[in-house]
């Protein structure tokens, strides 16, 4: 089902992690759909000096994140932005057809991180770029029975099984 390269990047993902003082952050997808990626970048002289990420998702989502970080680290912003979904898939010797759209989000997440960096550089307040993705963090619901925190989409409490309002 998956190529050897995909399995290699999945088993030994490169450049995993978050960057505390990142110059740009890009986040795409959400866990409800099954895949979510957050890319962190450090930039110096228009070059990506460091690229890290965190990924929630399937084998291909993890492999794509790893490959994108490898392909873009050390590149100029222009070069990094030019990397397409297709190029990432090809560099991994292909992805299963049904995975091409949902998990191949790495290039997009990286572009968002670069956009974030550029917006910050052009003096846009941090809050403005954050607010754009306002739909992201969901409120938790508290169970009336046991006070456990549950995701907003839950119908029943994960801890005690009580029906949630």
């Amino acid at each position: 089902m998956y190529s050897e390269k995909v399995m290699d990047h999945f088993s030994n993902p490169r450049n995993v992690g978050a960057i505390e003082d990142a110059d740009g952050i890009g986040e795409v997808g959400n866990p409800v759909c099954g895949d979510m990626m957050t890319f962190y970048i450090k930039v110096k002289d228009d070059k990506l000096t460091d690229v890290k990420y965190k990924t929630f998702g399937c084998v291909s989502a993890i492999a794509v994140s790893s490959k994108v970080s490898e392909m873009t680290k050390g590149k100029t912003l222009e070069e990094a932005k030019a990397i397409s979904k297709k190029a990432v898939a090809e560099a991994l010797d292909g992805l299963p057809k049904e995975k091409m759209h949902c998990s191949n989000l790495g290039a997009q997440a990286l572009s968002e991180a670069i956009n974030d960096y550029e917006e910050r550089k052009n003096g846009k307040p941090k809050s403005a770029s954050k607010a754009k993705k306002g739909q992201k963090p969901k409120e938790d619901i508290t169970c009336g029975q046991c006070n456990a925190q549950n995701p907003v989409t839950a119908k029943f409490c994960m801890d005690c099984g009580e029906k949630l309002k």
């Binding site: 866990p31 759909c33 895949d35 929630f56 949902c102 907003v152 839950a154 119908k155 994960m158």
Partner: protein, 390 residues
């Protein structure tokens, strides 16, 4: 590498005595059972003996068994065969929301043909409420189908209670027992059902064979038109070797069920307790007691099931998942949706189906490798947060 297989709801190895029983029917006794000379009539007789063995396993009579190509075909024949035969009486059918795709999609097929279908909701354990079923039955309802046990969350449904309601209302009741036959006692009279589907999967029979039990005088439209095989209810030359396999497996299963159940249940309890001890932020899905003896299913927070499945695969551990990413349709399992699991948590679905060929050592091996795999994926996950100490 070590191989620990815990996906017995998908497939089981064909048992040695079953393989041996089947072999002569490939090349030695290869005659067509419909042929009237002795090379055919003898095969016909062997086939009828298998019918009796399968019937005995579920407390039925031989003439109430139709051999099919799979559990899915048995489900199709039940839903479509009854609906087609009963369409003059009514056009409403009721199925639970957590049925196997072969039932759900058969029902949806009739929705496109001027039938009305009610998809009966279930509670957080996956149980169908008899009161709710009673409320859903209308004068034009002709068929109700609720599975005996669910393959993804292991919950065993209150079939006798549901069946008695249908009996009182004069509605035909079908149960899909593919997950239960060979795992727990199944008796068509105790269950009080009109139709029951089974397959060789949990019996150690080969793939490609199943059966449908049907109550006497029940009208059933065939789906495969052909000769008058299976009393005219299913055309096509019978798959004799597979039928012999199903018969042999049924015969073996009948005598060993109690021991098998106890053994599987002990292993399952070890696994469940061990996982709950080692991994936090997980949900044990399905009913805690009313469940299949070898069945353990969880949703693990902040990770995705397909990735976990492959990571375990690399350690030689074989399990299943209801994660959307592992399905070709990329849709979250309807079962997990129906029991109210949030979509993000449902991504972390993992299903172990244990068999009596599994061992305590294998459980220990899984308990050693699983927390490591979960930890590795969580270290990658942007949504993973350690639970604050209370």
């Amino acid at each position: 590498m070590k191989r620990v297989y815990m996906d017995h709801a998908s497939a089981t190895p064909v048992r040695k005595p079953v393989v041996e029983a089947m072999l002569p029917y490939f090349d030695q006794h290869f005659g067509n059972p419909s042929a009237v000379y002795d090379m055919g009539s003898k095969i016909k007789q062997v086939m009828e003996e298998q019918r009796a063995k399968v019937a005995r396993l579920i407390g039925a009579k031989a003439e109430q068994i139709i051999f099919t190509s799979s559990g899915a075909e048995a489900n199709n024949l039940a839903i479509k065969g009854v609906s087609l035969a009963g369409q003059k009486k009514g056009n409403h059918i009721i199925v639970s929301a957590i049925e196997h795709h072969s039932v759900l999609n058969s029902a949806r097929f009739f929705e496109r043909m001027n039938f009305e279908v009610t998809f009966l909701p279930v509670d957080e354990y996956g149980l169908v409420d008899p009161e709710r079923l009673l409320g859903a039955i209308r004068p034009e309802t002709i068929l109700v189908s609720v599975m005996h046990a669910n393959n993804e969350i292991g919950t065993i449904e209150p079939i006798p209670e549901l069946a008695v309601i249908c009996k009182e209302k004069g509605v035909i009741f079908h149960t899909d027992a593919v997950a239960t036959v060979g795992n727990i006692p199944v008796d068509v009279n105790e269950l009080n059902v009109d139709l029951l589907s089974l397959s060789g999967v949990s019996l150690g029979a080969p793939k490609g064979v199943g059966a449908l039990y049907f109550r006497d005088k029940l009208r059933l439209m065939p789906l495969i038109h052909g000769g008058i095989q299976e009393s005219g209810r299913r055309g096509g030359t019978e798959n004799v070797p597979a039928i012999v396999g199903l018969g042999k497996a049924s015969e073996l299963a009948a005598g060993e069920l109690t021991d098998k159940m106890n053994y599987m249940q002990n292993l399952r309890n070890l696994l469940v307790a061990g996982i709950q001890e080692r991994i936090d932020q997980i949900k044990y899905t399905g009913h805690p007691e009313k469940r299949l003896p070898g069945h353990a299913s969880f949703c693990i927070g902040a990770i995705e099931g397909e990735a976990l499945l492959f990571m375990l695969n690399q350690q030689g551990i074989y399990v299943n998942t209801g994660s959307a990413c592992a399905s070709k349709a990329l849709k979250t399992s309807p079962v997990l949706v129906a029991i109210g699991i949030p979509a993000d948590l449902a991504q972390g679905s993992i299903v172990f189906t244990i068999h009596n060929s599994n061992t305590v050592e294998e459980i220990e091996y899984v308990l050693e490798k699983l927390p490591f795999a979960v930890g590795k994926l969580r270290s990658l996950s942007p949504i993973w947060r350690e639970k604050a100490a209370a």
